[in-house]
């Protein structure tokens, strides 16, 4: 599941996974609140989550996903332009499992998703 308000970023993440050679089923959403509802229904294995979004930001979305027992197992990779170490620490303390800084290399993103999926399966 991709959650980002920037349509180009959503398209890039989707195509990065599509062209990585792996077979993924990908949903995307441009708003955090709607994403929470969709995550509760679809139960994705991994969520690629932007931080700066209108209405509800990525940190509260991340916290909510991890707080809800039904979705707590979902792996969250923050994909954001923020890159300070304090900020990354904040994301990790909110429950994020990994962090990718924008701009990112498509193959690097695909590698992180693969790793997160492997961890999800192992768990």
């Amino acid at each position: 599941m991709i959650v980002d308000d920037d349509p180009f970023a959503r398209r890039l993440m989707r195509d990065s996974l599509d062209l990585s050679g792996e077979c993924y089923q990908v949903f995307d959403m441009d708003r955090g609140k709607l994403a929470l509802e969709l995550i509760a229904v679809e139960r994705p294995d991994v969520v690629l989550l932007d931080i700066s979004m209108p209405e509800i930001g990525g940190i509260p979305v991340c916290t909510e996903i991890k707080r809800n027992p039904a979705t707590a197992e979902v792996r969250i990779i923050i994909v954001s332009a923020h890159c300070g170490s304090d900020f990354i620490a904040e994301c990790l303390s909110a429950g994020a499992d990994d962090y990718v800084t924008k701009p990112f290399q498509p193959d690097e993103l695909a590698r992180r998703v693969k790793k997160a999926l492997a961890e999800a399966v192992a768990a």
Binding site: L19, P103, D107
Partner: protein, 457 residues
Amino acid sequence: MAVSRNSKPAQQKKGMPRETIAAGLRCLVLVTVFALTRLQEAAHSHLFEIAVAAGAVYVMVTTFVPLSRRDPRRAAMLTQAIDVALITLLVYADSGVTSNYYLLYFVPILVAGAKADFRDAIVAAGLSAAGYLVVGALQGPAAVVTTSAMSRALSFGIPIGMMAIFFAILVNEQQKHARLAQQYEDAMRAKADFLSKVSHEFRTPLTAIVGFSQLLYEHSDTLDPKRQKEYLAIVREQSQHLARMIEDILDLTKIEEGRLKLKRQAMQVSDVIETALMLLDHPEDRERVALSVEPRTRAVYADRNELEQVMARLLHTAFKLSEVGASVPVRIGPAVEDDAIQVSIHLSPLDECEEALAPLTESAEKVVARKSDGKSLGLAAARALIELHGGRIWVEESYDTGVALTFVLPVCQPKEIGPEVIVGVTIGPEAAGAEAHGEDNDRGRRPVRAKAHAGQP
């Protein structure tokens, strides 16, 4: 662990010894002086004992009060008062108002002055004068009235006056310096914050540029041509977007720092709009603009290049916020106020219109601080440029389409261009602005955008 081990001794080194040594030295000086007094004036032995006792109290107070550090200011004042009291005691014990030990009164004054603490120096001088007068009062009126005693008492007035003047100047300078330092610090913090947020804004188009170009590079053999073209279009559009953001920020910075100098000349706004249409990212958008000009619309006195950028930014916003393919009427005519023309760009608003147009009323810092996709900077720059021309811009309800971006600009005054100013000119390519076309379009600014359009069909 390593940090705590290192930091503790450093604190002790900084805090303890300085005041203890100062107190010890003060004690040593005073005891020496009292000892000398004892040797010279054996008759005053009882006063010597009192002085030694007072010295002991003094050492305790000057050692423990400043070290308590609860109120350093109060501790310093108390120490000073004790200094003056002991000097007074010494002067009285020696030979009263005629004693040469009165010179010791100047020590605390000079010490405070040397530390540039003029408030302490004035207090020390005042206390010294009071202490010396007390000695005189204890000796009787006759002693005080002597010329020597009077001149000595008056001599305290000189340092008091001088210190007061220095103190006033210093306080004034310190306040000025503190104010400037605060302003500088605020400006630096705001600038750092602005740069940090702007660099964050840059990452949005950069993500698409880096990502899609990387996908193109890595999968050029397998991607079908349609998808390749699609990726290239995204890279091109985001590159233009990035270039616009950089231009907007440069313009905003120049305007805020007062470095943007307008090269004004008389021109018709309709001509400016015609040129601005050529700067649009998508040539098909040009057909969406329906330009209408009221008769007797006067020329404006503006920087053609900057006004073109304003129009391009406003039109770009209008297209982005309007329904796809919707017409964007632009009306030019005399403003309600005298000596101004009004330009209205009408758009069919979408849902996010209100938030998107907020930069027209917000500061540049606020625009950047708010989550935006970079387009807000363009509006902030457009507003700043219009205000720099002496105009203003606002959003108003439009009777036909819903919302209008409206701005007014002062018209060209005859004194600004001479008697040949064109008033009530018919609008068209041959109108007043025509003489400015050639020379200004070659000015060389905005190379990125000019190139981007040069390649378009």
